[in-house]
């Protein structure tokens, strides 16, 4: 039968509709995307690179929402509290875990982990407790450890190797100049370099965190206070803080931090955090720099092996600790793409992906990566990172952590930078503030 014009027109129309429908379906598959929220820093750039593999494998496009550290908590906690759908995945700070779990911001991952064979015992213990668990030390998981991090130190290897500098140091302190192992040695080295002329330029002893607005000075001072006996509360009686937060050791630790600030920092470092430290170190201003391990790959690349060395946070009379940083990756419960987001976590947890994550500038928390025989030699800071991850302590992760943090910021900055009152008064005041905070939170 010869098709009439009408039939031909009908077939063409149907074919067009079918083609359009198929085309739009394909377009929908291609348009699948996930938004991942994190801070704007070097590891975030590495994650962008890494995530290209996920897109290649699944066809799901990745979008990224990175904000500077100074507004990171403000911005993303506002997003979470307002039940925003902006972030499908969030790499949230370790302190957010309590509030995000109790407020229903994060999807609980236990069932997902069980179903996909992801075991938390495969990850570094401190990171599981710090980034994933709420309540702490219970098997309730709200995040996958994503970016292991802690406070470490860099030093000017080239200055430490200068013969005249070494000679002067030996003459003054009767020992060889080396990266400090405890806080007494640290003070000696810092004082030694303070004001010294190196290559015709005045240099300073040390760079430490002093930032007031977010978390800086707290993340700095705890590295000394832990070593001198500071505890957040009575290990046998939770939330009992008197005698632990303001113990004699804690007071001494705070005094040491102030001593470092007064004697051995560069002028103007009164509200300084990560980026100021990096600038001060790179520009040859300071001999030693406190900062997060996360920055060390970039710093090493920028300065070269001759100029930069690394060391673990010094020890104190009551122990050897370091401040935990880092974050876990969580699925936001308000996301419309929870399944894809869970797929991303499943992909990210694979050993091969974790290995690549470490190689391109992230810090994996997977034991298979960090406990591999070749890991300590994989980067000059890797051995110190391994040691540090075994001695970390973290700040409160309670739902009301922000109040607790801001109170500590205020008390410590008032004493260390503004020089008001004494260390004992500052910590007694902190106990008072924290007691009120916990009372307000019903604890």
């Amino acid at each position: 039968m010869k098709p009439t014009n009408k039939t031909v027109r009908g077939v063409v129309a149907l074919a067009t509709i079918a083609a359009l429908a198929l085309g739009s379906g394909a377009a929908r598959a291609e348009d699948k995307s996930l938004t991942l929220c994190w801070a704007a820093w070097d590891p975030a750039n590495a994650l962008v690179e890494l995530s290209k593999d996920f897109t290649a494998k699944t066809g799901v496009k990745m979008k990224f929402e990175f904000v500077p550290w100074t507004s990171y908590a403000d911005r993303f906690l506002n997003e979470l509290n307002s039940h925003s759908k902006l972030c499908d995945l969030i790499i949230g700070d370790s302190q957010w875990i309590g509030g995000s779990a109790e407020n229903g911001h994060y999807v609980k991952l236990n069932d997902f982990f069980d179903k996909n064979g992801i075991k938390m015992s495969d990850f570094v213990d401190a990171t599981v407790v710090g980034y994933s668990e709420w309540p702490k030390n219970t098997p309730n998981y709200w995040a996958l450890p994503a970016m292991a991090d802690a406070v470490g130190w860099t030093y000017r290897k080239d200055w430490f190797a200068m013969p005249d500098v070494r000679k002067d140091f030996k003459a003054k302190y009767g020992r060889d100049l080396a990266p400090p192992k405890d806080w007494d040695e640290f003070l000696q080295v810092a004082k030694f370099f303070q004001g010294r002329q190196i290559a015709g330029k005045k240099v300073y002893g040390a760079y430490i965190f002093t930032e007031r607005g977010s978390e800086g000075i707290t993340m700095g001072v705890t590295n000394v206070m832990y070593d001198y006996g500071f505890e957040y509360d009575n290990p046998k009686k939770p939330y009992e803080m008197n005698g632990f937060v303001n113990s004699a050791g804690a007071v001494k630790g705070l005094e040491i931090y102030k001593q470092i600030f007064d004697c051995c920092t560069a002028p103007g470092m009164t509200n300084a955090y990560m980026s100021e430290g990096l600038d001060a170190f790179k520009s040859g201003q300071v001999a030693m720099q406190m900062n997060w391990f996360a920055f060390f790959p970039g710093l090493y690349k920028a300065m070269g092996p001759d100029k930069i060395g690394f060391f673990v946070n010094p020890a104190g009379p009551s122990g050897h600790y370091s401040q935990l940083g880092g974050q876990g990756i969580s699925v936001v419960s308000y996301s419309d793409h929870k399944d894809d987001a869970l797929n991303y976590i499943k992909w990210f947890a694979q050993p091969s992906v974790q290995q690549k994550w470490w190689e391109i500038g992230g810090y994996s928390a997977l034991k298979a990566v960090v406990e591999a025989p070749g890991f300590p030699k994989s980067a000059p800071f890797a051995p110190d990172f391994l040691v540090t991850m075994g001695i970390v302590k973290d700040f409160w992760a309670e739902p009301n952590y922000a109040s607790l943090l801001l109170d500590m910021q205020k008390r410590i900055h008032n004493y260390v930078v503004a020089g008001q009152g004494t260390a004992q008064l500052a910590l007694d005041g902190l106990v008072k503030d924290w007691t009120k905070d916990f009372k307000d939170a019903g604890k």
Partner: protein, 319 residues
């Protein structure tokens, strides 16, 4: 294309409906038309001003925390208010704010008026210099706060080098932002730098509004320049000056962005103005009830002071 072509029928329909509308509007009273015009504005005001205010007042009597929705909201009576009014840290913040408001306005008024007197006279390059003077107020406070942190930097900042140039004090030997004594003055200085041109503009408007005939009369009376200034210029400009003071006082009382970026309230809490305290309590600590009470206290204080001031301003104008 033919959709826009009028046919006699469609024109007739439009004319009929237009006429009907006119008839309907003609049926409305003046009062109804007035209501018709102001209703959207009233609705908008209610939605974005009055409702939030009432909501804030209500929250100020509770222990509500916006980030902890699972906690039961309890009515705490006036506990938030008494806690705020008895909080020594908050009074210290009030003192910081008062110091900032008082000194910045004093300097801005003196310098702004002086600049206005200068700019009121024609001189070579008058337009160029007027534009240069006005530049700081055209910048964003956030930008100003940020770049002044660099200018105040003790090692590389221009400010310390200028002090060194004029006084011989080594630039690295002092720091503006981190020093307990100097930090409160840094915010005064930057605010003065930024907003003096604004006060100058208002004063200039005042100076230009004085009729020449008054000056001519003063000249006929052989009044000295000093006498003319005290008896003619200053009284005539006074309402404008007072208006500038009102605008700047309200603005500086709630100053946040510039101070936050410049000093972050530090060192310690020495430059923590009440607006920074309020922001930290509301959006960092999430003490929503407590911060609502503080917002109400500040609102009442500013509203009350501004009303008293406006009454005083009106008296000055009547004189």
């Amino acid at each position: 294309m033919n959709a826009s072509v009028d046919t006699p029928e469609t024109t007739a329909v439009r004319v009929t409906s237009g006429a009907a509308r006119r008839i309907r509007l003609r049926g409305l009273s003046d009062r109804s038309i007035a209501w018709l015009f102001i209703t959207p504005t009233i609705a908008l005001l209610l939605a974005i001003n009055i409702f939030p205010l009432i909501w804030t007042i209500q929250m100020s009597f509770t222990n509500y925390k916006a980030n902890m929705g699972w906690l039961r909201i309890k009515n705490v009576g006036i506990a938030n208010y008494s806690d705020i009014l008895g909080d020594p840290d908050l009074w210290a913040g009030m003192q910081t704010t008062a110091h900032f408001v008082f000194w910045s306005i004093l300097l801005e008024v003196v310098l702004g008026f002086a600049l206005a007197l200068l700019v009121n006279h024609k001189f070579r390059g008058h337009s160029f210099w007027t534009t240069v003077i006005l530049l700081p107020m055209m910048l964003s406070p956030a930008v100003v706060g940020n770049f002044w942190t660099f200018l105040y930097q003790p090692q590389v900042g221009l400010f310390n080098y200028l002090v060194n140039f004029f006084s011989g004090i080594p630039p690295s030997s002092f720091q503006m932002i981190g020093d307990v004594q100097l930090a409160p003055w840094t915010i005064v200085l930057v605010d003065t730098w930024m907003w003096t041109p604004y006060v100058m503009l208002i004063c200039l408007a005042g100076l230009r509004s004085i009729p020449d005939s008054i000056y001519e009369a003063a000249e006929v009376d052989r009044a000295s320049a000093w006498r003319t200034f005290w008896s003619v210029t200053l009284p005539m400009v006074m309402p404008f000056l007072m208006l500038a003071v009102l605008f700047r006082a309200i603005e500086n009382f709630k100053m946040f962005d510039m101070v936050n970026l410049l000093t972050n309230g530090g060192p310690g809490s020495l430059t923590e103005t009440v607006s920074i305290t309020l922001k930290r309590a509301a959006f960092e600590k999430w003490h929503t009830g407590w911060s609502s009470a503080l917002a109400i206290i500040l609102f009442v204080a500013v509203f009350g002071a501004a009303n008293i001031y406006i009454k005083f301003l009106n008296k000055v104008r009547q004189r």
